[in-house]
């Protein structure tokens, strides 16, 4: 007979930690399952600071932020299973059966509701167009971060970073501090994709050049990377013939984007949003599969861990009070100019007084007014001095007195302020 839980949380990163604490706080018998030996998720290797500004008003290091939640978790009676991989989840009439794999072998547990807090994975060289061999020395920024910050081993001495995402820039600084030479950060787009503050404190502070409209087109070397070929790109990001140059290096570090991890979700029939690559969720992270919730980077890639914890807590609370039954929804629609807005829909049996929305703009913009409407009724209007795709924005709607009905549409619009 397998043990029965109310809520099973999969993934012990900041999203899963917050979800387990919240589910337990709401009275649910909760289990937290993590495949690694320690809790904290990706934060264990994010030794840089800047975490927790919203939540704690402090600039904590990643492990330090995680530690606060780990300490809080220790005060609860959440059952924690480390070094345990959730291999399969099966739908039962009254909940779910989880197949767990650990050193002790296979075992099964059951849960009424599931919170998927499996984080995200990095895009790799296979998913971008680089010709040539795949010698040792070509690795993602997250892998380079793991080598450097956890194992204490430099992935290379002469490094090239491809992609100007925050993780790539943070790694460029980190490698420089540890004595490696970072030859440059190369970005195919005409604008950097990371935060301006990281350009300042990670690149400018250390004299690391940032090359826009350039990309890596080829790797040289057999067993070990010896050089890369850099080329300029046109506005369609296609390499321009004749601009190629060869750069000797022993490590190519890829910071070319993150994708929500939803392998388990897909086996359950969870519907994914083609833009976020995460599940279509309601305000509590519940997916189209009843009793299956998603939060943190598994639901969409977040840039601030504070919001990750927030989404985890909401999913944990809702999973704890989950009861099967029919549900009615209103839809959230992001108009022209938005990349996406979350949650994709609002579940109407528990419309909160306040609804938090997250969104990203498609392009970089100056002064912009964002309006949120329900039919003709204006729910919110907010000015932004600038909007940039790498920076997720958050607004909170007051829904008191707003009569949202089934099939209703909450519409986000933006217009330039002149």
């Amino acid at each position: 007979m397998s043990i029965q839980f109310d809520v099973a949380v999969i993934g012990g990163g900041p999203a899963g930690l917050a979800a387990a604490i919240a589910a337990n706080g709401a009275g649910a018998k909760t289990v937290l399952i993590e495949r690694e030996a320690r809790l904290g998720g990706i934060l264990k290797q994010c030794v840089h600071d800047g975490f927790g500004l919203v939540r704690y008003g402090e600039r904590l290091a990643g492990p330090e932020y995680a530690q606060r939640y780990i300490n809080e978790l220790k005060e609860t009676d959440v059952q924690v299973s480390l070094l345990t991989f959730v291999d399969k989840i099966k739908n039962l009439p009254d909940g779910y059966d989880l197949t767990l794999v650990s050193a002790g072998g296979l075992r099964h547990i059951r849960a009424r509701a599931i919170v998927l807090a499996t984080g995200c994975r990095e895009r790799t060289a296979r998913q971008i167009a680089i010709h040539g061999q795949r010698p040792a020395g070509v690795l993602t920024a997250g892998t380079a971060q793991y080598y450097t910050n956890i194992l204490g081993q430099l992935p290379g001495r002469r490094c090239v970073v491809l992609g100007s995402g925050d993780i790539g820039m943070i790694m460029a600084r980190r490698l420089t501090l540890e004595g490696a030479e970072v030859l440059g950060v190369y970005e195919a787009k005409s604008i950097p994709s990371g935060l301006p503050r990281n350009i300042a404190q990670c690149l400018l502070d250390f004299g690391i050049p940032l090359h826009l409209c350039k990309t890596v087109t080829r790797c040289f070397g057999h067993a070990r990377l010896e050089a890369v070929e850099i080329a300029g790109v046109d506005e369609n990001m296609r390499p321009i013939a004749g601009t190629e140059e060869r750069l000797e290096c022993d490590a190519l570090i890829l910071s070319v984007g993150l994708i929500p991890e939803n392998e388990l979700a897909e086996t359950l029939g969870v519907r994914l949003d083609p833009v976020t690559n995460g599940p279509v969720c309601d305000q509590n992270g519940q997916t189209n599969v009843p009793g299956v919730f998603s939060c943190g980077n598994a639901s969409h890639v977040n840039d601030l861990v504070d919001y990750v914890s927030e989404s985890g807590a909401a999913a944990g609370r809702a999973a704890a009070s989950y009861v099967p039954g029919e549900r009615l929804y209103a839809e959230l629609r992001a108009g022209e100019g938005f990349l996406y807005a979350m949650p994709q829909r609002v579940e109407l049996s528990r419309v909160p007084e306040e609804l938090t929305l997250y969104f990203r703009s498609r392009d970089e913009r100056g002064k912009t007014r964002v309006s949120v409407k329900l039919g003709e009724k204006l729910l919110l209007q907010k000015r932004f001095n600038q909007l940039r795709p790498p920076e997720m924005e958050r607004v909170t709607l007051d829904l008191c007195g707003a009569a949202i009905g089934e099939g209703g549409v909450i519409l986000l619009e933006m217009e330039e302020i002149v």
Partner: protein
């Protein structure tokens, strides 16, 4: 650290310095600042909040940074993450990194515990940023 209100010595009074494209790193907003120093007075524009002014002033006089890194432990495949307990002068970062290379932590620590003093280089200490048993 910061002296407020900022008063320059007389010899700087006739100097005009304009610094453009300074990026405030105090919070993720990353405001682009423009600082103008004229007549012994500093004016900052572009800042979203008051901290931007303080940042510009420090950046033009004595730039400060917090430093995060790792130190070795008894386990050869497990580093301990650490950070400075305050901001340190930017030009001391290299020396602090050198100092950290010699540090090995061989005891259990709790998050926030002092790991190494920075006394030979600057004020402050490195503190652990997670528990290690």
């Amino acid at each position: 650290m910061l002296r407020k209100p900022y008063k320059a010595s007389a010899c700087y009074e006739r100097m005009v310095i304009i610094v453009k494209n300074l990026i405030c790193i105090t919070c993720p907003t990353g405001c682009r600042l423009e600082a103008e120093y004229a007549g012994g007075k500093l004016t900052v524009s572009g800042n979203g909040c008051k901290r931007g002014e303080e940042f510009a002033l420090a950046e033009l006089t004595n730039p400060m940074r917090s430093l995060t890194s790792t130190v070795r432990t008894a386990n050869p495949l497990m580093m301990l993450p650490v950070r400075t307990d305050r901001e340190i002068p930017k030009d001391k970062i290299g020396e602090v990194m050198k100092l950290l290379r010699g540090v090995v932590v061989e005891r259990p620590v709790t998050c926030g515990e002092i790991i190494a003093g920075l006394a030979p280089v600057c004020d402050g200490s490195m503190i652990a940023t997670c528990d290690m048993s």
